[in-house]
Amino acid sequence: MSLFRRTSPPAEAITIEVDGRAVNACAGDTVATAMLAAGFGSIGANVKSGRPSAPYCLIGVCFGCQCTIDGASDAQACLVLARDGMVVETPQPLTRDGGLA
């Protein structure tokens, strides 16, 4: 069950791929807010232990959402606008509720 729900009027719907699964999002979302809305509680992974990490700051400071987007592994999901067809790979493959796959 997602930690967040959308309250604003529906914007243009887009679809991104996260670890191989289609995820519905809205134009104007960042990849991080799109994933939070879709129920992903975690996005990145601790660089030392590999355990899933989550957005803590959502402004590009904490690196809890570092992942690979369209092949670039230096992306912070909270700083990248979600675009239709984007391919997101999290460092630790995650299930729908953000738990480990």
């Binding site: 660089v47 030392k48 592994s73 230096d74």
Partner: protein, 367 residues
């Protein structure tokens, strides 16, 4: 001058800490004077190679010293880990100096030939061709045409080594944080003055890197040293792909990859430049293309402590017996000896007799 009595080591980097450990083991009461100032200077910018190949061209004794240091590293590392639980992560994996074009390989081959022809030879270093290199290092880049390989080369983690020595020194020496301004001889022994007061000691060892130059003259010691800047890049952790050490790229025990070996005359400026960062990154990616997709997380620089001929200086003062100078720019490689035979030589007041070739008198003769 017996091994007993108290002895002050000035400088708590890799060189000073190793000497202090060795002196304590030799029975001296050791005071380690640490300039602190929230910085480990050269020790924090050490690339971590325990390196033999190519060392001592035209200086067979330095080649032999480096070889003995590498041989001594297993016991040195095991001793630290057993005493503190902190592993210096030393691995003698063999080392390669990769050549990225034929001209580079020719230069390496020529240097090796000269080393072979000098006493002590080239410490089992040999040229390997592209095929052998690729077999040893599958991830090596297509541009690599061959390399010099030496089985005695390896690498260790400089900061873990420093940390382990520090933990040991906490129990076998007195550590005094002090910015030293002067070391003066007095009627018996020496007085060390600094911002936090003064310390007296029967004997004193200068091991303060570039700081030695200012302290040496008062003690009849000669430290003609100059800084040479080296910049280092480091990536985030990567899956294990490189166990061996190379002279410009090495993967640490944590999985991060260090890249470096730049040389600049930039005085005491420890800034970094994008131009040198690009050169280092380019060579690293040409050597190991997989690094192209690695994330660079930090770059910093350190100042190598260089004597005029780049070799260490080991000196016992002729005018003020009991004052010694130890400086080098391979603090990790020589740490095993500094904590062993070099410390014993100081403890037994035999530094100049056992290491005549590293006395600074060699510079006066040449001047």
């Amino acid at each position: 001058m017996s091994a007993q009595g108290d002895i002050a080591v000035i400088g708590a980097g890799l060189v000073g800490s190793a000497l202090a450990l060795g002196l304590a083991r030799a029975g001296a009461r050791v005071t380690l004077v640490d300039a602190a100032a929230d910085d480990f200077h050269a020790s924090a910018a050490n690339f971590g190679l325990v390196w033999v190949q190519g060392k001592g061209l035209g200086a067979p004794d330095y080649a032999a010293l480096s070889f003995r240091a590498a041989q001594g590293w297993d016991d040195f590392a095991t001793g630290l880990e057993q005493a503190t639980g902190i592993s210096p992560a030393y691995r003698r994996t063999g080392g390669v100096r990769i050549a990225l074009d034929e001209a580079e390989l020719d230069r390496t081959r020529a240097n090796l030939a000269r080393l072979h022809n000098q006493p002590g030879g080239a410490q089992d270093t040999e040229i390997i061709d592209r095929g052998e290199l690729r077999e040893m290092l599958p991830g090596v880049g297509a541009e690599a045409v061959g390399a010099a390989y030496c089985p005695h080369d390896g690498h260790a983690d400089p900061l873990r080594t420093l940390r382990a020595m520090r933990v040991m020194l906490n129990s076998c020496a007195t550590i005094v944080p002090m910015q030293v301004t002067r070391v003066r001889p007095q009627h018996a022994g020496f007085v060390i003055e600094g911002d936090t007061g003064r310390i007296e000691a029967d004997r004193v060892v200068l091991a303060a890197g570039l700081g030695n130059a200012a302290l040496a003259p008062d003690l009849g010691l000669h430290a003609p040293l100059r800084p040479q800047r080296g910049q280092i890049l480091i990536t985030e952790r990567l899956p294990k792909f490189l166990d061996m050490a190379t002279h410009t790229v090495r993967q640490t025990a944590d999985g991060t990859v260090m890249m470096g070996d730049s040389k600049e005359d930039a005085g005491f400026d420890r800034g970094t430049t994008q131009a040198v960062a690009r050169e280092i990154a380019t060579r690293a990616v040409r050597s190991f293309p997989a690094l192209a997709r690695a994330r660079l997380v930090r770059s910093w620089s350190g100042l190598r402590v260089l004597s005029p001929d780049g070799l260490p200086i080991y000196q016992a003062s002729a005018t003020h017996p009991g004052a010694y100078l130890v400086t080098c720019h391979s603090g990790v490689t020589l740490a095993s000896l500094h904590a062993g035979e070099v410390a014993r030589a100081i403890a037994e007041d035999e530094l100049d007799t056992r290491y005549p070739e590293f006395a600074p008198t060699r510079f006066e003769a040449a001047a």
